[in-house]
């Protein structure tokens, strides 16, 4: 066991932090929150050149072949600078979904272009109910003479405005799990898109599909067997959102410490007051626990056991602790950070958006609570002792 970064991991993390910090100014980041794309295409091309757009893909598809733990370090660094990018939509969602479930032809067509930064692709899973359960999917996919047609409305679709294609989850039959995945080009007739007005930097969209025709070879994976792939997508999304939250927490604490060391009141830096010191110590405590649980979660994505427990624990912890940390950060800053030209607000908003993504704290608490009664060994994790029963 060695829960520290090796030299390559340290270098990757430092490179990502340094890139993200210099890529865009806070003003430009704010500006992007209102543009259609929601990110800076030039910055995304640079990120692709650094190898991050294809980071987890095999080299055969133009990727860098790095593991999920290393990708988590990159995501954390981007979160730390509130840097908007299509990494979640295009790489973590669509790219890894295609790698997981796509045909050879689909992988060859899309993954090299994604890795090169030439294609933005996203996925459309949730609907107006906002839930993450298969029975909540109402969009329909039905066979036609030579393909399929899709009808339905999707919400919370990342980067749909910039996307060339959307992988849509739709119902093929009445059985709750009878769901198919279909890759739809966004210029297909019958697709309408509207950007949601939402807190945080991600461009989230409502996408409507009305009598949208697709070819038979646009199905991703086997018809009717889309759900297991989506379940893994949600697990990956939750783990990497936890990593983003860690970055958000790091940035918020760093801003707070700088302020507490330099803001003079009562003739002293406010950071010399124990009331402020204890808040900062608590922020650091929660951040470090969140960081380590997240390392465990992203690291476990590569395990055979797939890390369902570890991811739920990390996302539950980060989803609660990091937004709370940003609230304390504002409390210590006082009025100055309430103004939009102070960068703390970027992290305040991103924290609340990130905690909602891929299952909020309540969702992951239910996941673990259900695991406790349905699969006790998984709930307890590896290497545990026999439960003490000598009391009874």
């Amino acid at each position: 066991m060695d829960i520290t970064l090796d030299d390559d991991q340290t270098l990757l993390h430092e490179t990502a932090v340094s890139f993200a910090q210099s890529a865009l100014t806070p003003n430009r980041i704010r500006e992007l929150e209102t543009t259609a794309d929601g990110f800076d295409p030039g910055v995304w091309r640079e990120m692709a050149q650094m190898g991050w757009a294809g980071a987890p893909f095999p080299e055969a598809y133009g990727g860098a072949g790095i593991g999920p733990f290393e990708l988590g370090l990159v995501v954390e660094a981007l979160g730390q600078s509130a840097l908007p990018s299509p990494l979640f939509s295009t790489v973590i969602e669509a790219g890894l979904l295609l790698l997981d479930a796509g045909s050879d032809a689909q992988k060859s067509e899309w993954l090299p272009r994604i890795a090169a930064g030439d294609a933005i692709v996203t996925t459309a899973i949730s609907e107006t109910g906002g839930g993450l359960a298969p029975q909540e999917i109402c969009a329909r996919i039905a066979p036609t003479g030579n393909g399929f047609r899709i009808d339905g409305a999707k919400l919370f679709v990342r980067d749909a405005g910039a996307a060339e294609a959307i992988i849509c989850l739709a119902r093929a039959g009445d059985n709750p799990h009878d769901l198919s995945l279909a890759l739809v080009r966004t210029d297909a007739p019958g697709i309408t898109r509207r950007r949601l007005q939402a807190a945080g930097g991600e461009a989230l969209w409502e996408v409507r599909f009305e009598n949208v025709s697709i070819d038979a070879d646009a199905i991703v994976g086997q018809p009717g067997l889309g759900w297991p792939h989506v379940a893994r997508l949600l697990l990956r999304g939750a783990a990497f959102k936890a990593a983003e939250l860690v970055g958000i927490g790091k940035a918020s604490l760093a801003l707070t410490l700088d302020y507490a060391k330099t803001r003079i009141q009562f003739d002293k830096p406010i950071g010399s007051f124990q009331g402020v010191q204890h808040h900062c110590a608590e922020m650091f405590r929660d951040l470090e626990v969140s960081r380590l649980l997240t390392w465990q979660a992203t690291g476990s994505l590569g395990d055979r056991l797939a890390g369902a427990r570890e991811v739920a624990i990390a996302k539950l912890k980060c989803g609660r602790a990091i937004p709370a940390l940003t609230r304390t950060a504002h409390q210590i800053h006082g009025a100055i950070a309430y103004y939009r030209d102070y960068p703390l607000e970027l992290f305040y908003h991103r924290a609340i958006a990130a905690q909602a993504a891929y299952g909020d704290a309540a969702y992951h608490r239910r996941v673990l609570a259900s695991m406790l009664t349905t699969d006790l060994p998984q709930f307890r994790g590896q290497g545990r002792h026999e439960l003490p029963v000598h009391y009874f």
Binding site: M1, H278, A281, E288, S300, A369, L387, P388
Partner: protein
């Protein structure tokens, strides 16, 4: 980055688990638990068990080979502490975790030669003489004095909150050697033989039911050879050694045991009213506790990894102890509010839930909040030493 124990580490852990299970059967518990002792085991059994740990090679396994140690990495040390705590084994205190490391780091060659072999065999017991009636969180306020007299120093004063002093062979004692000094300057460390004339011990009953002690030194003549480090340089020794103590305190074994015990309780239905775990509100609390326990566990092994890499974590150690102890207190308090009318029933009362252990620990663990750097002092340390906030 390797998140899991490797095959050798797992083999060591499993062997250790088997050893502890064999040695600490329910019959051994019944015969030797003693709630009047801070360690919850009788003095006789504690000392006998420590010798067994020594004979099995566990005490010295992480020591450098030059001191007769096994040279095992800090990951093994962490596994040892973890399993000892989980099995509630006796003797995991300063005598095996702190003092040997302090002697190795700061003791003279003759002190090491005289003490370390016996310590590795588990034959010696220690008390740590830092705290005094007026030196608690403010450790630099030590008033016990030592006056130089030829080849001896004559120690006079009182040490307070002296855990296990009544069963100690030696004291690791901070005294003021420069009467004109104040605060951190002018302190010196001594190893004091507790059988010397002038050493006496007082008893204090704690609210947890066990007996605590204070130590009085009345013109105790200690040979100069038992001075640790240089005269008037004791603060360096204290500060240098204190992280050894904290690293052992960070072990997650206790928290895991607390959780497993409550989980086992929640999965039973002795009265036919349904298992507590089938109540979604109980389950939600259990999930929250599991998350915090996992955090304490990962953080402890992160700390051990830093040590294993040869780094010298400082505020990270304080942080990890804080997380472990706060999590343990969370376990205590949530469990007490789950066990209903049975919660306040004490050990020995036949109707007590979980043999009254949760009620006992609810009192016993109260000391986590103030001892060996209490919660708020630890937050001060993290803020100033860790985060660089001004004093």
């Amino acid at each position: 980055m390797e998140l899991h124990l490797n095959a050798d580490e797992i083999a060591f852990r499993d062997e250790l688990r088997a050893f502890l299970k064999r040695e600490l059967t329910p019959e051994v518990f019944a015969a030797n638990r003693d709630h009047s002792e801070q360690g919850m085991w009788s003095e006789t059994f504690t000392k006998a068990f420590r010798r067994k740990l020594g004979a099995a090679g566990y005490i010295g396994m992480g020591w450098p080979a030059e001191y007769g140690g096994g040279g095992r990495s800090r990951i093994y040390q962490a596994i040892f502490w973890d399993e000892m705590e989980y099995h509630r084994a006796p003797g995991l205190d300063r005598t095996v975790t702190y003092v040997p490391n302090a002697v190795m780091a700061f003791g003279s060659e003759s002190q090491k030669a005289a003490l370390l072999p016996a310590m590795s065999r588990g034959e010696l017991s220690w008390f740590v003489g830092y705290s005094e009636p007026d030196a608690g969180s403010d450790l630099a306020n030590v008033k016990t004095k030592a006056v130089e007299d030829g080849d001896h120093f004559v120690i006079t004063g009182q040490k307070a909150f002296s855990s296990d002093a009544h069963m100690a062979d030696y004291g690791w004692v901070a005294v003021r050697t420069d009467p004109a000094s104040s605060r951190h300057k002018g302190l010196t460390m001594f190893i004091v033989d507790m059988k010397l004339p002038g050493v006496s011990i007082s008893r204090h009953d704690t609210l947890a039911g066990w007996t605590h002690h204070s130590v009085n030194f009345d013109n105790v003549r200690v040979p100069r050879s038992m001075m640790v480090g240089e005269k008037d340089q004791g603060w360096k020794v204290i500060m240098g050694a204190i992280d050894f103590e904290r690293a052992a305190l960070a072990s997650p074994g206790l928290v895991d045991y607390q959780f497993d015990r409550l989980l086992a309780w929640s999965l039973r239905d002795p009265h036919g009213n349904g298992r507590p775990a089938d109540d979604p509100l109980v389950r939600a609390d259990l999930v929250d506790l599991a998350v915090e326990a996992e955090g304490a566990r990962v953080m402890n092994y992160w700390l051990a990894s830093l040590h294993a890499r040869g780094l010298m974590p400082q505020h990270e150690t304080s942080l990890t102890v804080l997380v472990k102890r706060e999590t343990s207190r969370l376990m205590d308090s949530v469990a007490m509010t789950m066990l209903g009318l049975h919660a306040p029933l004490r050990a020995g009362e036949p109707h007590a839930a979980l043999a009254g252990e949760v009620e006992l620990e609810y009192r016993d663990h109260l000391y986590f909040q103030f001892a060996a750097g209490g919660f708020d002092i630890t937050r001060n340390v993290i803020a100033t030493r860790g985060l660089g906030l001004p004093r």
